[in-house]
């Protein structure tokens, strides 16, 4: 510990030596440079969160995505409180235009679109997140076990991972959903969870293989830690960004797949989700009859949720692969150099 404190001042001494060279005339001050590059000093709060969170929070798009998701989740949670009508029952005449009485109009069957949108968000988001979470959990469990307990375990598990990756998932889901009468959102979510874990299992396995020969794992093994403890306390925390990235992708996949399945009529038509809302709108020929308000609310809800998740995924990707973050931030420097007529080849 003591030698560290001794070297610290020594390292600092060369600094003034460099700075003594007088700046060329007309050169911008550091403050001006920061202003031109649009760099702001990091807020103090940033220092209190872990580095990967700092990376995430410095990405405005990712934060925006997270905020949009938060709004949707709060709206879904509060659905029973804010819904003006029962989403499952008739609330007025068929195809009432959006107005004071019905905020987003009514469907062909006279159900209130706004209440259905909230209730649909509740189901669709729950199915999406639960299916995404379960798929990730399965993927992580299988991926880590395959990577860490190599040998026979790895061979058998990798075989199943490869089979699940190679077998076409969506048609399988469609066929599976068709064999159970009335695929309720729960059934769809379960099927999606059991078909969507392949990719995270593969990436997690590769990551585990990369990590497991590092010194800190060896140290833990030599200290006689149990294998499960090593997996949970040493390996897993080092893969959190891969796990989160896999979760976000699995959730996008689950939300889109659920909506798609229900739209083509393989879901249970009596449930209220964004997918079934689209299904009923299509059946009622809402677009042909000019009832746009029956189609666009669920459509945009799905689009915005998907877009928000993509933004979050972009930010998580930057944690996983620092080159991507460097590319984004490097853009400012390249533009800055271009404006000053310098070569941008260095980046």
């Amino acid at each position: 510990m003591s030698h560290l404190t001794e070297t610290a001042p020594a390292a600092a001494t060369p600094m003034p030596a460099k700075a003594t060279a007088p700046p060329p005339a007309g050169a911008p001050s550091p403050e001006e440079l920061m202003a031109e590059l649009r760099i702001k000093p990091r807020p103090q709060i940033f220092r209190k969160v872990p580095p990967s969170w700092q990376t995430f929070l410095s990405n405005k798009a990712g934060v925006a995505g997270l905020l949009i998701l938060a709004v949707f989740i709060v709206a879904a949670l509060l659905a029973p409180v804010i819904s003006p009508y029962d989403p499952y029952r008739r609330a007025g005449k068929p195809h009432v235009q959006p107005g004071v009485e019905h905020f987003l109009g009514t469907s062909r069957q006279g159900k209130d679109i706004f209440s259905q949108l909230l209730e649909g968000g509740r189901t669709s988001l729950t199915v999406g997140f639960v299916a995404g979470l379960s798929a990730t959990l399965i993927g992580v469990a299988i991926g880590i076990s395959a990577g860490y307990f190599s040998g026979k375990t790895d061979e058998i598990l990798t075989f199943f991972v490869n089979v699940s990756l190679v077998l076409p998932a969506l048609p399988l889901i469609i066929v599976f959903a068709s064999f159970v009468e009335e695929a309720s959102p729960t059934v769809i979510g379960l099927v999606l969870a059991f078909t969507g874990w392949g990719w995270s299992a593969r990436t997690i396995r590769t990551q585990t293989l990369a990590i497991k020969n590092r010194e800190f794992i060896l140290a833990a093994e030599l200290m006689g830690e149990s294998k499960w403890r090593i997996v949970l306390r040493e390996i897993l925390p080092n893969m959190s960004s891969f796990v989160v990235g896999g979760f976000v992708l699995a959730t996008i996949y689950a939300i889109l797949a659920e909506a798609g399945l229900e739209f083509i009529g393989l879901g249970s038509p009596s449930s209220v989700t964004w997918g079934t809302m689209l299904y009923w709108a299509q059946r009622a020929q809402a677009l042909q009859t000019g009832a746009w308000w029956e189609v666009w609310p669920p459509a945009f809800a799905i689009m915005i949720t998907g877009a928000a998740l993509v933004l979050v995924n972009f930010a998580v990707d930057e944690i996983t692969s620092p080159q991507l973050r460097a590319a984004r931030l490097g853009g400012r420097i390249r533009r800055f150099l271009k404006r000053r007529g310098r070569s941008v080849d260095v980046f």
Partner: protein, 327 residues
Amino acid sequence: MRFLLRRLGFYLAAFFVAITLNFFIPRLMPGDPTTRIFLALRGKLRPDQMDSLRKAYGLEGSLLDQYLAYLWKLAHFDFGVSTVNFPEPTASLLFYAAGWTLFLVGVATALSFVIGVSMGIYAAWHRGGFFDSFFTPINVMMNAFTPAVVALLLWYGFTMEWTVFPLGRAHDINLVPAWDLQSAANIVWHAVLPVASIVLVSFGAWHLGMRNTMINLVNEDFVVLAKAKGLSDRRIRYRYAARNAILPQITSLALSIGYIFGGAFIAEIVFNYPGLGKFTLNAIQTRDYSFIQAQLILLTASVLIANLASDILNVIFDPRLRTGSRH
């Protein structure tokens, strides 16, 4: 060679798993097609007719006997008789639909690959620039828009609001498709919207994949060396960076070519296109098991063959795999 043989063995095993699942899933589910026909005819069938129906559908004998008979038939490309379009053999329906799907999804896949990869190259080369910071997120977000929404938007916009394109189908009803210019024009005109609806939601993935792979390459030593040698910007961009970044994309392209036979469910349903997606959905709604099974086998086979093709391509392009150092 050993690598390829091992992969081939794996694909054969996977195919076996798939056809076994394909055999057991329908049989584990409640209700068999004969019972459905029996119910549909309100009990007008005699027991011996029931038995012959069972025999026709291969539902006779013990489960093991059925399984062996099923394998035997598969080996002879005999997919049985369609339950719904009764005398029609399933195979002829399947190949009719597969033809249209191959055209529709094949064109869409090729277009989205070309568009996405070129955009990815541009974005990676000018990384952090306006195009990259604006279009990369937008394109990937389009990837997360549901195909249903995009197809509906296009359909509404270009057939209802502006009646530019036809409402649906692969060609005019009174047109008999032939290999001439008039049919070709008609078919292409009908395919514009469905193809666009698929391309719009799929090119973003190529864009992102190409961009991210290439960004990780442009700072590699060989690119820096090429710059130092004073090679032209164009040459470095395409021959050095893009040439290497495209390898993983070619692997995924091979896989998506395999998935073509999955059909484009949503585009085919919205635009009433006579492809595999529409036929499969129809078969599901009418419980035409033989069609569903045949479609699944066609899809599994094509996906596995595409995987094998991508392995072979990788061995050709990536010398490291030839020594067997990776698996």
